[in-house]
Structure formats: C-alpha cells, structure tokens
Amino acid sequence: MLEALFRAQVRGLTLHRVEGHGGETERVETYRGTTVKMELSEKVRLEIGVSDHFVDPTVRAILDAARTGSVGDGKVFVLPVEKVYRIRTGEEDQAAVTPVA
C-alpha cells in the first residue's frame, strides 16, 4: 500500500502500530494450560495530511491497495484540518503540504 501511495505522489505520512477490533472473529491462544481469547488484533493506523485535490487520489490508492476482502480491512476517515505548518520552514497551509521538488 505504501507503493500505491508513493505512486499517487503522496509521500508524507505517519504510521502507528495499534491494536483494534474490526468485527473479525476472535483468536484463541493457549498458554500453559490457560486458554485466552485475543479480542484485539494488530492493526496499522496511517495519518496523512493532503491538500484538497489530493484527497480523492489518496483515498482511492488506499482503498485499492489495502483491500483484502475479509472482515477487519478497516476504514478511511476524511477529516477537515484547520491549519497545517511545515516545521522545517514555517510554511503554512497549501505550501506546507506541497512536496519539495
């Protein structure tokens, strides 16, 4: 999926490793005679900040690349952002999310 995003010219992203529950069936694990149900599965959470006209290509790249067809694939939330700053240069908003050539 990273490749799909790079192909869509989206290079700025943050990845978190998280645990989540996505409606999939629970796993059962055994440790020394104790049986436990693992309710949370390992998942990945991406945060990507893009300008308005990049939203569609980004969402399409994620949906196409990350889809496995099984329950637990996840969701894409599109949220409005008030302001964006690039830390290195102090640029704001549109300039901040324009990739450096």
Partner: protein, 429 residues
C-alpha cells in the same frame, strides 16, 4: 589430585552457574513486562546472597564432617577448605561446585511467587533458606547424612534440588497468596523467546549439573552427559504429541517446559541408568507434569510458573523411576526394581517423603519468621504498577518518553543537598 577431573569440574561449575541467569530468563519471559526485571532479579540476586551464605556457613552445614542431620560448623568461613584434594579435585573447587547448586535451588522457588513479593523480604528468605533448608538436605543425601547411608540414589539432585525447591515453592505460593489478577485477568508471557532461550541455556548448563556431579571425567560422567541429552529429548517429543492430541497445536512455552521437566526428571537418574532407560524415563516423566500443569491452572493455587508441576513432581517422578531403572551393570552402585532390587524404590520414596516434610515445614517457618519483621507481599497498588517500578525503580523496557533528567542544583544553598527536580511527566508520547 587428577588434572582431567579438576578441568572438568572447573567447566561444570561455570556451566551450573550459567543456569541461574538462564533460569531468570526462562521465568522472566513468562511474566508480564512490568515485572520482568523483578523476576530476573530474583534469580540473579541468588547468585550473590545464597552464594555468600554458602561460602560462609552453608558449605559447612552440608558437607562438614558431622553426622546424621547436619555437617556441623567446623568448616564455617571455609575453615579447613583449601587446595588439598577432596576426592580427586581441589577442595575449594568442590565447595564452589556445590555452591552453584545451592544458588539455583533457591532461585527455583521464585517461580512460584513472581509478580507479588517485596524484594527485601525475598532476599532475607532465600539467604536463610539456603542455610536452613538446602544445606541440611544436601547433607542428608550427599554429605554423609542418613539418606545417603540408607542407599538413596540421587545423582545430581532430583531430591536435594528439585523436590526440595518444589515443596518450598508450594508452601511459598500458599503463604503469599495469589496475585490480585490471578484467575481474573489474562496474564500472558511477555517474551516467549526469552523463555526458549532460558530453556536452551538451562539445558546447556545442565550438562555440567548432571555430568559434573560425577566429580570426575570418567565413565559415569559420560553416562550422565548422554542421559542429559536424550531424556529431555524424549520428554519434548511426548509433550509435543500430548499438545497435538489435546489442542492440535504444539506451543513454544510447552516445548520449553517439556525440556525442563525432562532435565529435572533425569537429574537423580543421570549416572545410574542406561541411555535407553533414560529415554523411557524422560518419556514417562512428561505425563504427570503435563496434566498437573493443566489441573493447577484450574485451582486457586497461584504457583505462577508451575514450579511444583515441573520441579516438585518432575523430581519426584525422576527419583522414583531411579529406584526402578537403576542398573548396577551401568553404575556399579545398585540395581532398581526392574533389575531385581525392590528395596531401592522404597529407599527413594523415603528420601522424597523426608525431604518433602522437612522442606515444607522449614520453608513455612522461615516465611513466617521473615514476615514477623516486614510484610512479604507488595501492596495491591504496587502490584498493579508493576514490581519493576515499585521494587527496583527501573523499567525493563523504558522508551524514555516523558523522562526528564533530574539535575543537582549547583547554585542551591550549601548544606541542603536537595536536588532540584523538574516537574515530572508532561513530555510527549
């Protein structure tokens, strides 16, 4: 004095010493990450406290020239223990070798009481335990005491080490009570690779534990060595098959446990039985421990890391099977039940029962003694925070986020000596 014997015993002492940190990792991997350091420290600290106790007093009680119940105090502060031969090796080396056994036996108990004991009382307890419980029992079987004179066969410590520690663990788990999360929350091992690594290093060190107990580089040592390789292998196979039969999946934690159970069971038998008997012994030993482990998980006994099932039961099974499978043709000492000597089995059983009784009562007494001076258990809040932080002020897996350096205030008024603390917390993450 024999150079080959000395060389081998030197190596064996180092191998057995390695077993104690290995045990720390075996146990450490099985607890939650907030208690990892405390669990490791329970083993590592035994190296210090039980080790020094052994050199100062324990060796005398175990191997001094006394009779019957104790070796006496003539060798206290290593009096009379020099470079002269003890058997075919220097006396100090024999003393050191035996000391590594005392160290690991005390550390074994910790497995039953992880994640809830205050560290200071733990140190006091194991120091006393090494002197009051381990040393006399070692004397009874190996130091010329009454069990050895009755003909009890314990090559490397099935009874002296494993049954002894197993019963002490049971008593300790009962006296301390269960963890507050026991049977309420799922407490999962935080690092199973540690446990496997620990098991592997234990197996490696165990070659010194068993083959070194021949106290010589000779036939019995080779026999013990070989049995130490194949008996646990058999236990591992049977355990894996039992796992397949019961759940369809063989677990890594099960494999690590199986190896240890097999090693425990072959410990009393190592130099007394044939290799084929050792394989049989290893295979048989898997069954009681496997089912004891499953059963214990359903009781209220929080023997957290199953010291009783692995060491107590494994040692008992090994000691009794030694009474069955011992072969004079292989060991030059005695035959077991299978080779026409039913008396041996009776002697083995007597030895196991005597040690169980003494260890149980004495361990109880020591715990109550220590408890009279300081509470044994950590408070519920400390247990929740994790013993690493509450007992040791350290984190095993600190990432350093939110950690702010505390600097001494140089410009502060002289004589106060109070470091200026920056406000804690408030960092990112």
């Amino acid at each position: 004095m024999d150079k080959a014997d000395t060389a081998w015993l030197l190596v064996s002492t180092a191998l057995v010493l390695l077993m104690t940190p290995a045990l720390g990792f075996f146990y450490g991997g099985l607890v939650r990450s907030k208690n990892a350091l405390n669990t490791l420290m329970m083993s590592v600290s035994s190296l210090g406290f039980v080790g020094v106790g052994w050199a100062l007093v324990g060796y005398s009680v175990a191997f001094g020239p006394g009779a019957g119940f104790s070796g006496g105090f003539s060798r206290v502060l290593l009096g009379g223990v020099g470079l002269e031969p003890q058997g075919t090796v220097p006396h100090v080396l024999f003393m050191a070798f035996q000391g590594t056994f005392a160290i690991i036996t005390a550390a074994l108990i910790s497995g039953a009481i992880v994640e809830r004991m205050r560290f200071g009382p733990y140190l006091a307890f194991i120091t006393l335990w090494g002197l009051v419980v381990y040393a006399p029992v070692a004397h009874w079987v190996w130091g010329g005491g009454f069990l050895g004179r009755l003909g009890a066969l314990d090559f490397a410590g099935g009874t002296v080490v494993h049954v002894n520690a197993g019963v002490a663990a049971l008593v300790a788990a009962l006296v301390l009570g269960p963890r507050k999360d026991y049977a309420r929350q799922a407490s999962l091992p935080h690092n199973v690779p540690f446990t496997l690594l620990g098991a592997g290093l234990l197996w490696f060190g165990w070659f010194g534990f068993n083959a070194g107990s021949a106290l010589a580089a000779n036939g019995p040592a080779a026999l013990a060595f070989v049995n130490t390789m194949f008996a646990p292998a058999a236990t591992l196979v049977v355990w894996t098959l039992l796992d397949f039969a019961r759940t369809g999946r063989a677990t890594a934690v099960g494999a690590a446990t199986a190896a240890v159970v097999g090693l425990v069971a072959v410990t009393p038998a190592a130099g007394y039985v044939s290799p084929i008997s050792a394989i049989l012994l290893g295979g048989i030993a898997a069954f009681p421990s496997y089912f004891a482990l499953l059963y214990r998980a359903r009781t209220r006994l929080d023997d957290s890391l199953d010291v009783v099932a692995a060491h107590g039961l494994g040692g008992t099974v090994g000691a009794l099977l030694t009474g069955v499978l011992a072969q004079k043709a292989w060991n030059g000492a005695a035959d077991g039940l299978l080779f026409g000597n039913p008396r041996q089995l009776a002697v083995q059983a007597l030895g196991v029962l005597a040690v169980m009784a003494y260890s149980g009562v004495a361990t109880f007494g020591l715990l109550k003694l220590v408890a009279a001076f300081a509470p044994l258990r950590a408070r519920a809040r400390e247990e929740g925070l994790g013993l690493d932080v509450s007992q040791h002020g350290e984190e095993a897996y600190a990432r350093g986020e939110g950690a702010i350096l505390v600097l001494p205030e140089i410009a502060a008024a002289p004589g106060l000596g109070v470091p200026a603390a920056a406000p804690a917390g408030g960092g990112p993450g």
